[in-house]
């Protein structure tokens, strides 16, 4: 029984000629205790997907289609009252920029307690104690004193920990982590990742971890889904995807990730070109203009998401070159060659 079932989610900003489809026909499933990493560059729609789940997108300028089923109910059709009970309580989100995501005029402890009070967790005295406990759990030194601190008195890393504590406060089933390490420096990043992985295990929560950094995925995800220009282009278990990447975009991403064991004198490889203008997406495969293996078909028709024929494990791909059939599948031969 999946915790979260996203069905054909699409998000459009603006209207008429100005309409931008940030997310197009995205479907995925999240099971209890699972961590799903969503990877993609800026504009891929990954953050918008998370905001859509929480229904935090601006009402007047966005329209959302599809269904998001949680605990038997469609989040997108829920009334405000029910939604409020779920937000922060059963589904919680941690945001990208810790510097601006906290109310500067409230102490950190008050912001923690506020969440608990809104969802009826414990009594007043319990809540205060629990706030201290949460801060300790997230690794904030000297938690009893920190509870009285204001956000501006804490560093970025500490604030991010506070945000994680806030997300955990009511014991949610799902945690959405939107690029939570992007604004932090590398040493802190590793600590936060480990923290999240451990806590989600301990609390039994599922996590959707959004990032643009493929290197991070290995540390935290059970499953990975790669998004490009609003669509899912590849999805598999982390081990499978990193060990057997198939779609050209994913290959490009992996190749451009710097590795410590590489010869430094080699130039860093990049994917040439840029993602398509969201207002004018091509009719065919969105990645076509940047793809080494592009064929004519790619420009005119959008490939569907299918199970990759060469993969032994569940592994979905969206690429004509990987699809068996007449006029397609040109990459499959290469695969067979690689395998030999």
């Amino acid at each position: 029984m999946p915790t979260l079932d996203v069905e054909h989610l699409s998000v459009t900003f603006g209207s008429g000629s100005q309409a931008v489809k940030a997310v197009e026909d995205v479907s995925f499933v999240l099971h209890p205790g699972e961590t799903l990493a969503v990877v993609g560059e800026s504009g891929s729609g990954k953050s918008v997907t998370a905001l859509a789940i929480m229904r935090l997108l601006p009402q007047h300028s966005s329209s959302v289609g599809g269904a998001i089923v949680f605990d038997g109910k469609d989040l997108l059709r829920m009334r405000r009252g029910e939604l409020r009970e779920i937000r922060g309580n059963r589904i919680a989100m941690v945001y990208q920029d810790p510097m601006t995501a906290l109310n500067p005029a409230m102490t950190v402890g008050a912001q923690l307690v506020e969440t608990m009070r809104a969802h009826g967790v414990g009594t007043a005295r319990d809540r205060r104690a629990r706030a201290v406990e949460l801060l300790t759990q997230v690794g904030l030194p000297d938690a009893p004193a920190r509870v009285e601190a204001y956000p501006h008195q804490l560093s970025g890393g500490m604030r991010q920990r506070v945000m994680i504590a806030m997300a955990l406060a009511c014991g949610p089933d799902v945690i959405l982590a939107d690029e939570i390490t992007t604004a932090l420096d590398v040493t802190v990043q590793a600590q936060i990742l480990e923290l999240l992985a451990r806590l989600s295990r301990e609390h039994g929560a599922s996590v959707i971890f959004i990032t643009h950094n493929l290197a991070v995925v290995a540390r935290i995800g059970d499953y990975v889904q790669v998004m490009y220009a609003g669509q899912i282009v590849e999805r598999a278990a982390t081990v499978e995807l990193l060990g057997n990447p198939l779609v050209p975009y994913t290959l490009g991403l992996l190749a451009s990730t710097p590795r410590l064991d590489e010869d430094r004198s080699d130039r860093l490889s990049t994917i040439p070109g840029e993602p398509p203008n969201p207002r004018q997406r091509p009719a065919g495969c969105r990645f076509a203009s940047r793809c080494r293996s592009r064929h004519e078909l790619c420009d005119t028709e959008l490939p569907p998401l299918i199970q990759a024929p060469t993969a032994a494990e569940p592994h979905e791909v969206r690429c004509w070159g990987l699809m068996p059939g007449e006029g397609t599948g040109w990459l499959l031969d290469e695969e067979k060659e690689d395998a030999q």
Binding site: E85, R87, G88, D97, T100, N103, T115, A118, Y150, M163
Partner: protein, 316 residues
Amino acid sequence: MLWRQILRRLAIGVPVVLGATILNFILVNAAPGSPLNSLVDPEAGPAVRKQMAERLGLDRPLPVQYGSWLWNALHGNLGFSYENNRPVLDNILERLPATLLLAGTAMVLAYLVGIAIGVVAALRPYGRIDAASSVVGVLGISIPSFILGLLLIYVFALKLHILPAGGMQTLGATGNGGLLQHLVLPVVSLAIFDLAIVTRYTRASMLEVLTEDFIRTANGKGLSALRVVVRHALRNALTPLVTLAGLSLPSLFGGAVVVEVVFQWPGMGQLAVNSVLARDYPTLLGLSLVFSVLVVVGNLIADICYTLLNPKVRDE
């Protein structure tokens, strides 16, 4: 750290008050026509004038006159009124409560109502309340308080007979003499201008705060809309308003002067206008001192409130 801020503000305030009194002293003494003309019988000979001048100290050089006035002022002696020969300080203190009541009530009204409307307008921008309040807003800053006062008197006192046309109390009435009724029209006349400005500023400030990330965080935590608007949005939107309040004090007192005249309200403003017409310079100087002090104190209070509201400032 709070004490340091208070001291700093006071330190800046002192030269401001002094500067204001010097300015007024110069102006008062540049006036054509000496006060002696109204104090001494024009028929009297020059000897009498000289005697009077000596007695009042008007024959000494200006800086000395100012110095002695200042010295006396610091000891609580603001001289004697040319009008009724009573100590200036007494005259002023007698009228101070009336002006504070008028200005204070007007300010409270302007801010409470202005903030409320501004918040509603920000929550539904370009909606009906917003559009209405913006039109009313322009009217509010465009209508001189004395015209509004005259209009209100015309409508409510002369035509509808439900409110008094002036004064602070009804003669012979019990209790506080119908103070509340007498307070309504003057307060409204005085408050409208600031109300319009506060509404506009609150709306703008709220709109800005509502786009901040922490509002999204608050919504994401499943907090009630009321709590998000008040404890998160408004709470942060209020800080520039506090500064605004301090800066609006001079115009508030200025407006009070006019309103007091229109409504015959027995406050310092009315005293000021009467003193000008009567060339009662000691009273004028005393009043200018008191007004400056009030403004400085008001700004000090605003500063303290700002520090209380804005935690970031406390650690500097």
